[in-house]
C-alpha cells in the first residue's frame, strides 16, 4: 500500500537494520507473557486500590469469579448458543449472498462500472437504521437479528470480490485467452484463484462484523442471546457478571479469528498476509 513493500532483493547481501527481527524468537514470547501479566495485574489492582471506581469497574478476580459462576448455569449456555446461532446463520447468509452478488456485479467490467456508485450509496447506510423495520417485521425472533447481520456483513465480502475481480492480472487473462480456455476453465483456473485471497479477507471481516451486529441486535432489539444478557446484567446491577459476559463475547471473537486465520494458512499458504488489513468494505 505504501510506495513499495519491504522487499529486499537479496537477504544474503543485506542483513537489514539492527532492530530485533520480525521473528523475535523467545524474546517476543517473554515480552508477550510479561506484558499480559502486567495488564492483568493492573486490572486487579487499580480497582482494588480505588484508583478506578470498583463499583463500576470491578477488579479482575471478581469478574473471573462471576465468569466461573456463569459457566455453571444452563441459561448462560443457552444465551451463548443463541448468539452463535444468529452469528452463524447471519454470517453464512451474508457471505453466500455477498459472494454471489460480488461475482454477478464484478465479473463483467461494464456492469461493475454501472453498479459502482449504487454500491457506494448503499454501503454507508448503517445497519442500525434497519432496527425499526426489523422490529416491526420480526419482533425479537431470530429473523430480525439475521436481517441486521446480513445487511452489515454482506459488504466486506461483496466489495472484496468486486475489487478482486477488477484486479485479475490482464497478462494472465491474455494467457488464458491464448490457451483457448473455456469460460468454465477460466473461472476454475484463473478467476477463482485470483479472487480467493481478496474473498478471504472479506470473509474474515464479515465474520467479525457479523458477531458485532448479532450482539448489537440483542442489545437494542432484545433478541435472546449474550447481548441481551449483558443488558439485563447492567439493568440488574450485577456488574461483575456484565463484564464476564462481555469478556465471553470477546473470547468468541478471538476464537473465530484464530480459526479463520488457521484455515487461511492451510488453504492459501502462498498468500498469507499479502492482503493483511485491507479495510475496504468494513462498513456496519
Amino acid at each position: 500500500m505504501t510506495a513499495s513493500p519491504t522487499v529486499r532483493t537479496d537477504p544474503a547481501v543485506d542483513p537489514g537494520p539492527a532492530v530485533p527481527a520480525g521473528a523475535g524468537g523467545p524474546a517476543r514470547w517473554r515480552w508477550a507473557v510479561g506484558g499480559t501479566l502486567v495488564v492483568l495485574a493492573l486490572a486487579e489492582l487499580l480497582p482494588r486500590t480505588g484508583v478506578l471506581p470498583s463499583a463500576h469497574l470491578p477488579p479482575l478476580s471478581a469478574v473471573v469469579e462471576a465468569l466461573v459462576e456463569q459457566l455453571g448455569r444452563p441459561s448462560f449456555w443457552t444465551a451463548t448458543g443463541q448468539t452463535m446461532l444468529g452469528w452463524l446463520v447471519g454470517g453464512a447468509a451474508a457471505v453466500l449472498a455477498g459472494t454471489v452478488a460480488g461475482f454477478l456485479l464484478g465479473v463483467v467490467p461494464a456492469v461493475r462500472r454501472a453498479t459502482a456508485s449504487t454500491l457506494d450509496f448503499l454501503r454507508p447506510v448503517p445497519a442500525v437504521a434497519l432496527v425499526p423495520v426489523a422490529i416491526l417485521l420480526f419482533g425479537t425472533q431470530l429473523e430480525s437479528k439475521v436481517l441486521l447481520v446480513v445487511w452489515a456483513a454482506i459488504w466486506p465480502v461483496l466489495m472484496q470480490v468486486v475489487a478482486g475481480l477488477a484486479e485479475v492480472d490482464p497478462v494472465a487473462r491474455e494467457t488464458a485467452a491464448a490457451l483457448h480456455l473455456s469460460p468454465a476453465q477460466r473461472l476454475r483456473h484463473l478467476i477463482a484463484p485470483s479472487v480467493l485471497p481478496a474473498w478471504w479477507t472479506g470473509l474474515r471481516l464479515s465474520v467479525s462484523v457479523a458477531l458485532v451486529m448479532t450482539v448489537a441486535a440483542e442489545l437494542i432489539i432484545g433478541n435472546a442471546g449474550l447481548g441481551k444478557a449483558v443488558a439485563l446484567a447492567q439493568d440488574g446491577g450485577v456488574v461483575p457478571q456484565m463484564y464476564a459476559l462481555i469478556a465471553v463475547t470477546g473470547v468468541l471473537g478471538v476464537i473465530a479469528d484464530v480459526l479463520v486465520r488457521a484455515a487461511e494458512r492451510r488453504l492459501m499458504p502462498w498468500h498469507v498476509s499479502h492482503r493483511a488489513g485491507i479495510g475496504r468494505g468494513a462498513s456496519w
Partner: protein, 266 residues
Amino acid sequence: MSAEPRPPTASGLSLDGVGHDYLRDGRPVPALAPVSLDIPAGQFACVIGPSGSGKTTLVRAMAGLLRPSRGTVRVGGAPVTGPPTGLAMVHQEYGRSLFPWKTVRDNVDLALLNSGRGQRDRRAAVTEALHLVGLPDVERAYPWQLSGGMQQRVAIARAVVAQPRILLMDEPFAAVDAQTRADLEDLVRDLWHRLPLTVVFVTHDIDESVYLGQRVVVLGRPPAGVRADVPVPLPDRRDQVTTRAAVEFTDLRAELYGQIAAAKLG
C-alpha cells in the same frame, strides 16, 4: 566526533578489518569477510564483486547504518558509530529513497532541515543543487511524475546539497536504461571534479567501475575479503566513446573479468 576542525575539503575514509556476520536461525553467517582499505580524501574509488560478496553490507557499514561485527570504519580519522555528518548516500532504488509525498524541492530540502540555515538560503541551495544535476525546471513536480533517470538525479541533488565530503553510491544506476546510465556516469564524474568530494561507488558492472574510478577494489565472497585493488591508468578526462575504446580500458577490464570469475568460483 573528532575535536579538530575539519578543512573544507574532502575527507578520507579508512576501514580496519571491517567484517560482518548476520544471524540466521541464531547462527552467524558471514556476510562480509574482514576488509582493510584506505581511501584518501578526494579519491574516486569503485568497489565491485560478485553477488554475495558483501558490497551492500560494506557500504552500509561505511554509512554508519550498520554496526559491523568486527573492525572499525573511520571517517576523517574519527571512528564511525552512527551515520557521520558530512557523508551522503545514494541508493540503487531511487523510487524508494525519494519520498512520494514530497515535491522534488522538498525532497532535496530534507537534507538541509537541520543545517541551521534560513528558509531563503536553503531554497537557493536546493535550486543550485538541482541546476548542478541538470534538473532546473522540476522543483514543484513530485518524484513519481519524473522518469527513473530524473529521479536518480534528484536523489543525487539531495546527496550533494548539504555539501558532503564523502559520497557513497550503492549500485546507483543498476535500474536505469543504458543511455541514461551513461549520462548519469558523466554527471557523477563531473560533480566529483567540481566539488570537494571523496566518492565510493559500488557497482556490479566492471565497465562502469573502470570508466568511473581512479581505483577499483574487487571484493570476494567470504571468506575472501579484498581480492584485488588496482589503480585505473586512464587520463582524468574521460568520455564514453574514446575512453571505452582505449587499450588501457580494455586491458584492465579483461583483468577484472578474470578476477571476478575467480571470485565467483570462491
